[in-house]
């Protein structure tokens, strides 16, 4: 066959050896990359390295990777040193016509310009720059090669073979990749292979060569005269830094190094292949520094003993394996126990004591409590102390080194003498990395109710922007604006930006106004009122405080990112019109991002606890030197929750994710918890101020006295009917679960299992929630025909009828209306008729008494009748419920709750006294509303509370809005006036609702809140009773809800009742809560989180 192939002469020989099946293109390529050397071409072929050689394998993110070559050639005229330069690439490129962009890194021009921030222009000839040298032992491959001492050699990477490359790409982290290719050969200047480096050396040398960070040049010191296979050769290896080493890593990995807000415009910050690459790079660079015995001339000691740190840091050469574990571990990253949290916060409580308590300027009209003055002092110090530090200090992560002189060569005077190395990110720099960008801010983590808002406001009052600063150009973050198009020059604004959840906007606004008596100007940047331009934020007239929501920040950020992408497409000349539009959006829509705020405050900052969410990224991108994070729970479940906050604060070195993982996450996961906790404590110590309600002041007194709080679990029993429904559901669920278990498909059916669980939990609240499809809709359906019949009934009894028995009915109604004082006594139980019902004969009795009697008769097989007049037959549905109340109050209530009414009860009939002089109003509705164990218990308590003190206000939490609907109707029935807060309310009506609840003159005494809408930030201190209708997976959420009531401002003892149905899923939820390993994040949980470890919980539930 070979004979028939029309091969070029230079390939013919190769084709003869390799056989007839080899493609011409491959032959050509082999020829090219081996530079015509037959032996090497054959090697390449059988190693399979020809496919990848000189072809970019790491994607565009690592341009430096392409700087290395698969082979080296000694450039003519350069006799003394063999170098690994890319001339071979040039050759390859020229011959094959491949894209030109992968070549020529060694000149340093491109990479230098890429090294943004290092503004000094360094001459091209500066590189490669001598770093140091090392004596190594290598072994010979054998063969015919002869070498002698003093001969120069060049080093050459043998590329990973395609199989392993493929394996890594395809399987991702899932499978263990094929064995790493670390082989480094060294060759004679003419390209003949002499041997290979010892594997210990090769492991790091190979990486560095792959990245093209350093050029290695070698000289043989000692070699046996005849090289036998495995013979040892002693070499000197000299290392020269290339310009690529100084390329800023920000372009490769966005979370690493000095990554600042600007860089988070980048892709996912997962531990991606980028990060993986960086791990290798870090390992290699640190190994090289160690081998070269380079010692820093200066370090910043704040990080602690470097050697120890580095040791941990570099001791993971088998990174590939680690990564696999990492991924798995991420899913079941251990949560932090309460006890551990206590340790964490212990130190944070002491802050502020070292500074004298500070009073805000008189513009602040509030008087601060002692601990709040401490907080102000601490925050003020955090913001100001850094600014006064005149001299530059070395960045804590960086180390300074001095260039060594290569023998006989002098350093040119105009060249830099020092270089800087960041052992944690393996970045290198010629510029002095200063620490002046250290965060001026921190985490204000006082427990809920201690007045974090006021503390922040006192800071706003105390530390306003200097006028001088307003005019001075801000350069500190110019590095952030690395947009390809010319970035808008950003200027400082005197405004403090406060980002908070939507529900808190009004609270912030009101508090700001109230605290300042007009001394602070405040604006809300939300909804339609978002007409601020960045210019207006720069002027003198800019508001002191600008309040916005996370949603707004996110949406503007998304627009901004979108606009940027558009801009990029514009540079490729796609669609001009679109781009003009996009640009306008980007100018207009990014007021938040075009300005350096005087201060940025994130309230309820645990909203950004996941560093991967867009919201978190949007917040990182906000610009300000003074950055504050306000949250009552800096760590919710995982230590990494904290990372996001620290990253937002830009608190070096901890804002470096890889650093964080190395020192905190990984030790924590690997049972070296103590160490991790120690480190976290030291991270937190300077950053966090946290006091709790129990914190003691200097004198040992509690800093704050709150009224007592009692939380009781009230166990309830299902009624027989409810129990039937529950048991049916439970059996169904159990059967399905067991089926999934046997089939091993539990995880795949997670959603449906959760559906089952959800329904079981809903039945615990009220069977109506699950019966039928909508639950609530069904209830409403039942109620619909109520009023009509009732009206008929009323007509029948209206008194002008001539029937005899109706006059009694009329008199009953009259009695109800007239009899304003005494609550009638039930003829059956002799108690006050609190929840009376009328029978069709218009006799009244307690609802429960009548129902009991009907039941007794039913048991005997008799039809129901009125216990008083024996008129019958009657059924439960014939009963008419009535409540009487003051007319004025009812009128108000009606106005207030029209909305609720329309979708809930609909069965009310209002009867007012025709004489018009009575204030009594009787409400009647058909008794087709079925209560539930929970609702009965709730009403029992509420009625009792009301009896004890009619002004008692209560908050009722449920996670099901359907349950709130039902609670609403039963409240209606018993004449309670209530307000309701759930996710459907607009911001305005939310405000109104909260205001009304606070108002002592407002008739509503009950607030129904959906647990999810009301968990955060609200101030509900007007209430002193809390009823939790259903348990949440994570008690922290409930506790947080309770703290809305039990917080500063609460004057009465707070009594909390948690209703739990006995022998139901709820009891099991309680025990899961207690174990706290929980399906913790509940419904909000991601797939990954949900998997695996939760099986135990499920098994328990369905046991």
């Amino acid at each position: 066959m070979a004979a028939t192939r029309n091969l070029p002469e230079h390939l013919a020989e190769l084709a003869d050896i390799l056989g007839p099946d080899v493609d011409v293109a491959i032959l050509e390529k082999l020829h090219v990359i081996s530079d015509g050397n037959l032996n090497r071409a054959i090697n390449h072929f059988y190693e399979g390295t020809y496919n990848t050689a000189a072809i970019p394998i790491r994607g565009p993110a690592q341009p430096q990777a392409q700087a290395t070559t698969s082979s080296a050639r000694i450039p003519a005229g350069q006799k003394r040193n063999a170098t690994i330069v890319n001339s071979d690439d040039q050759l390859f490129t020229r011959r094959t016509g491949a894209t030109a962009q992968c070549v020529k890194q060694e000149s340093g021009t491109t990479s230098l310009s890429a090294a943004a921030g290092k503004k000094r222009k360094i001459q091209d000839s500066f590189f490669p720059k001598y770093l140091g040298e090392i004596t190594i032992v290598a072994y010979a491959l054998g063969g015919m090669v002869k070498v002698k001492a003093g001969e120069d050699v060049c080093f050459e990477r043998s590329r990973p073979n395609p199989q392993s490359q493929l394996g890594r790409k395809k399987t991702g982290w899932g499978a263990k990749p094929a064995k790493e290719n670390n082989v480094v050969r060294f060759t004679k200047e003419n390209g003949f292979e002499i041997g290979r480096l010892h594997v210990d050396t090769a492991r790091w040398v190979s990486k560095i060569m792959d990245y093209g960070l350093v050029e290695f040049r070698g000289t043989i010191i000692l070699a046996p005269p005849i090289l036998q296979t495995g013979a040892e050769i002693v070499l000197t290896m000299r290392c020269y830094l290339t310009a690529a080493a100084f390329t800023e890593l920000g372009s490769a990995s966005k979370v690493l190094g000095n990554s600042k807000a600007g860089s988070s415009f980048a892709k996912e910050a997962m531990e991606t292949e980028d990060e993986l690459d960086l791990k290798f790079r870090k390992y290699a660079m640190n190994a090289m520094f160690r081998e070269l015995a380079l010692t820093p001339i200066a370090t910043n000691t704040t990080v602690g003993p470097r050697d120890q740190n580095i040791e941990i840091f570099s001791s993971t050469p088998e990174v590939t394996a680690t990564v696999n574990e990492d991924e798995e571990e991420k899913e079941r990253e251990p949560e932090v126990s309460d006890k551990e949290l206590d340790v964490l916060y212990e130190k944070a409580q002491q802050h502020g004591r070292e500074f004298a308590p500070m009073d805000p300027p008189p513009t602040m009209t509030y008087t601060l409590k002692q601990y709040q003055r401490h907080a102000l002092a601490w925050m003020y110090h955090k913001e100001c102390s850094m600014m006064t530090e005149g001299h530059q200090t070395l960045h804590p992560l960086w180390e300074a080194y001095e260039f060594k002189q290569e023998d006989g060569q002098d350093l040119k005077s105009d060249e830099p003498r020092r270089y800087y190395f960041n052992p944690y990110s393996s970045e290198m720099s010629l510029e002095f990395p200063t620490s002046d960008q250290l965060c001026r801010g921190g985490i204000l983590a006082d427990e809920m109710g201690l007045g974090k808002t006021i503390e922040i406001l006192s800071l706003v009052h105390s530390n306003k922007m200097d006028k001088a600063e307003l005019d001075a150009p801000e350069e500190a973050f110019s590095r952030l604006t690395t947009s390809s198009s010319a970035p808008t020059p950003r200027r400082s604004s005197p405004t403090t930006l406060i980002v908070c959840p939507m529900s808190l906007i009004s609270q912030w606004r009101d508090e700001t106004t109230n605290s300042s008596g007009g001394a602070l100007t405040v604006e809300v940047y939300y909804g339609g009122a978002r007409d601020r331009t960045d210019e207006s934020l720069l002027r003198r007239g800019a508001p002191d405080v600008l309040i916005t929501s996370y949603g707004v920040v996110l949406s503007e950020y998304s627009k901004l990112v979108g606009a940027r992408e558009n801009e990029q497409s514009k540079s490729k000349g796609v669609n001009d019109l679109d781009n003009i539009k996009a640009q306008n959006i980007w100018r207009k829509g990014s007021a938040l991002f075009n300005v350096d705020f005087h201060r940025v405050v994130l309230d309820e900052a645990h909203q950004i606890k996941s560093r991967l969410t867009k919201t978190a990224k949007a917040c990182y991108a906000l610009n300000s030197v003074r950055r504050w994070v306000v949250t009552g729970t800096p760590v919710q479940n995982k230590l990494e929750d904290l990372f996001s906050l620290v990253h937002f604060l830009r608190a070096e070195p901890w804002s470096n994710f890889s650093f964080w993982r190395t020192f905190i996450t990984i030790p924590f996961e690997s049972k070296d918890k103590d160490k991790a906790m120690r480190v976290v404590t030291s991270v937190l110590e300077p950053l966090v101020l946290r006091r709790t309600k129990n914190t003691k002041d200097e004198n040992g007194d509690a800093i704050i006295m709150l009224p007592e709080r009692t939380i009781e679990i009230e166990y309830l029993k299902f009624s027989a009917q409810e129990n039937d429904i529950y048991q049916a559901l439970f059996k169904d669920g159990k059967t399905k679960f067991n089926h999934y278990c046997r089939a091993g498909t539990v995880l795949r059916h997670y959603a449906s299992i959760f559906q089952l669980l959800m329904r079981m939990r809903q039945v615990c609240d009220h069977p109506l929630l699950v019966v039928g499809r909508g639950g609530k809709a069904d209830g409403a359906q039942d109620l619909k025909d109520g009023p009509v019949q009732l009206e008929e009934l009323m007509a029948k009894f209206s008194g002008d009828s001539d029937q005899n028995d109706t006059s009694f009915g009329a008199s009953v109604l009259e009695n109800l209306m007239r009899n304003t004082e005494a609550i009638p006594e039930c003829p059956v139980c002799f108690e006050d008729m609190a929840d009376g019902v009328l029978m069709p004969c218009m006799h009244a009795a307690c609802r429960s008494c009548v129902l009991d009697y009907l039941q007794v008769r039913d048991d005997k097989g008799e039809s129901g009748e009125c216990p008083i007049c024996r008129q019958g037959p009657i059924t439960e549905n014939d009963l008419i419920e009535y409540t009487t109340s003051e007319a004025a109050a009812t009128g108000t209530r009606k106005e207030l709750t029209d909305d609720e009414r329309s979708n809930v009860s609909g069965g009310n009939v209002l009867i007012s006294d025709p004489s018009g002089n009575s204030t009594r109003v009787i409400q009647m509705r058909r008794n087709n509303f079925k209560s539930s164990a929970k609702l009965d218990a709730l009403m029992r308590h509420l009625n009792r509370d009301r009896k004890a003190d009619p002004d008692t206000k209560a908050v009722v939490f449920s996670q099901f809005t359907g349950m709130l609907d039902l609670a609403g109707s039963i409240l209606d029935r018993d004449g309670f006036q209530f307000l309701r807060l759930d996710g459907t309310l607009s911001q305005a009506s939310r405000e109104q609702t909260l205001k009304a609840f606070k108002d002592p003159d407002h008739p509503a005494t009950v607030m129904l809140i959906s647990l999810r809408a009301g968990g955060v930030g609200l101030n509900l201190t007007a209430a002193s009773r809390v009823y939790m209708l259903d348990p949440w997976w994570n008690y922290a959420i409930e506790s947080q809800a309770i703290d809305r009531v039990h917080r500063i401002g609460q004057t009465k003892p707070v009594i909390v009742k948690r209703f739990i149905i006995q022998d139901s899923v709820e009891e099991k939820i309680l025990s899961i809560q207690n174990r706290k390993n929980a399906l913790a994040s509940g419904l909000g949980m991601t797939k990954i989180e949900a998997q695996g470890a939760r099986m135990d919980d499920l098994q328990e539930i369905f046991s």
Partner: protein, 149 residues
Amino acid sequence: MALPKRIIKETERLLADPAPGISATSHEDNLRYFDVVIAGPNQSPFQGGIFKLELFLPEEYPMSPPKVRFLTKIYHPNIDKLGRICLDILKDKWSPALQIRTVLLSVQALLSSPNPDDPLANDVAQHWKENENAAIQTAQEWTRKYATA
């Protein structure tokens, strides 16, 4: 088992506002057990008699009727030798809206108008039907014999 409020209230009211010719007092050691005395109604064969009864409120009261029994011997077609009373409200016509007072008033009314058509003591009823005057005479004798102090 705590005593239902209803029983306490009834007891109090029976004491405070007794029905004419009827007294009922509960035992101190068992508040569900009542000593009852009913005076024989005027114009009845039982006039002048003082009849002792016992009344017990079962656990289910007021959903089930009280148990009432004459302790004093009485010659009455609806009351047997053991003192058991044939009265519909003490059986299937019971309603929880009835009370001790109404029960005893009914018993009193039963004394006024014996109903031999719904007998409990068949021999007495027979006697009543065949010779009402003689029966009434016997009743009067019994009253004198057994129901006077």
